[in-house]
């Protein structure tokens, strides 16, 4: 599962922040995942549970999902990503590399592939809390 690799990234990033901030224990990690990447929260949770080190002993991992919003650079139209209409392979390709949206998705108004993913792309470490 590819979620594992991104969970490792979150654990590494949170550990680096904890080190910098002098946190002995991390109590909460908030992760935001963009719907464009279509990550399975259960898989992320499982990976977190397997990957956590001593510093994460009592950590609550909160996973929030964010809708993916596109804005067309040609006509200015904005719309929300919906994987309906995409084939299985196309959807999976976007799951691995969200920018592949530019290969398979077009602006529903003018047909342009030149759009911006304004929000909801992939994994973001929103915040961490801990005790010093």
């Amino acid at each position: 599962m590819h979620e594992w690799a991104l969970a490792e990234a979150v654990i590494n990033a949170a550990s680096e922040i904890a080190e910098k901030e002098g946190l002995k224990q991390i109590t909460k990690v908030i992760v935001r995942t963009g719907e464009l990447q279509q990550l399975e929260p259960e898989m992320l949770e499982f990976a977190f549970s397997q990957l956590k080190t001593a510093k994460f002993k009592n950590t609550v991992f909160a996973i929030e999902t964010e809708k993916a919003r596109f804005k067309c650079r040609m006509c200015g139209h904005t719309w929300i990503f919906n994987k309906k209409g995409l084939g299985k392979n196309e959807s999976e390709a976007i799951h691995f590399v969200p920018e592949i949206a530019h290969t398979y998705i077009r602006c529903p108004k003018c047909g342009s592939p030149d759009f911006e993913t304004q929000e909801g792309r992939g994994v973001v470490l929103q915040s961490i809390k801990g005790v010093k």
Partner: protein, 240 residues
């Protein structure tokens, strides 16, 4: 808000002994052919080699090596398939034969995403086929993978070499190692590029004559290695 992917890239690269970015100032000088052939030669020499096509909007190494019908395996990330004895990674696994029209920030995101999820494991060499110029990929590579060494390809044209100067100057300023310069598609006898390369304090590695047979060898690694071009790249492999 932090992009966590950056924090895992060092882990993904730690099993790789040498990283070679095959680069140029201008397009059309033969970077992808040099990168693909070099990767093949290093593999045949018995090294563990990976080849990563970083020219996301115009990938071509899969065509050069005749790679089709393979996909990475998904296992705690993605494992590049082994083709022709080397581990091969390309955006074409996801975009297929279709265009990937990407702007700078998208290119940067693809690079970070693929470096953060690709498990190369142990390699002697990772060869990177770069897009031309000093754009997002070059800057991200310098930012994220500091031990990358650059192999610069040029033609005999002053136009191509002018951009080599700029690339070399930037890499020098940022203290990034340059392995040397290859002069490709040489049509006439001249030592102008050699002299100019040495004047920049860089190693002139090889001059490769224009090889009309090369086009016919595209898609066939064995034929590629038998060309004059292949033989010349073999001569520079020890410098890597």
């Amino acid at each position: 808000m932090v992009d966590p992917r950056i924090a895992v890239i060092a882990d993904r690269m730690k099993g790789i002994k040498r990283i070679i970015a095959v680069s140029s100032g201008k397009g059309g000088v033969g970077k992808s052919l040099v990168a693909s052939t070099l990767a093949l030669i290093l593999t045949r020499e018995g090294h563990k080699v990976g080849l990563f096509d970083l020219d996301f909007t115009s990938p071509s190494t899969h065509v050069i090596l005749g790679i089709e019908g393979v996909q990475p395996e998904e296992d705690k990330g993605i494992i590049p398939p082994e083709v022709n004895g080397l581990k091969y990674m390309s955006i074409t696994y996801y975009s297929g034969d279709l265009a990937a029209p990407l702007r700078g920030n998208d290119v940067s995101n693809v690079l970070v995403e693929l470096f953060s999820i690709t498990r190369w494991e142990e390699l002697d060499y990772l060869v990177l086929d770069m897009p031309p110029g000093i754009g997002d990929v070059t800057l991200d590579l310098i930012r994220l993978i500091r031990n990358t060494r650059f192999l610069i390809v040029t033609t005999s044209s002053q136009l191509a070499f002018e951009t080599v100067r700029k690339l070399a100057s930037l890499l020098g300023e940022l203290k990034i190692q340059i392995i040397g310069v290859i002069e490709n598609m040489k049509m006439e006898k001249s030592d102008v590029i050699r002299k100019q390369t040495e004047k920049l304090g860089l190693k002139f590695l090889e001059e490769i004559p224009y090889d009309p047979k090369l086009e016919e060898a595209i898609g066939s690694p064995d034929r590629l290695l038998r060309t004059t071009f292949g033989k010349k790249i073999e001569e520079v492999s020890s410098a890597m």
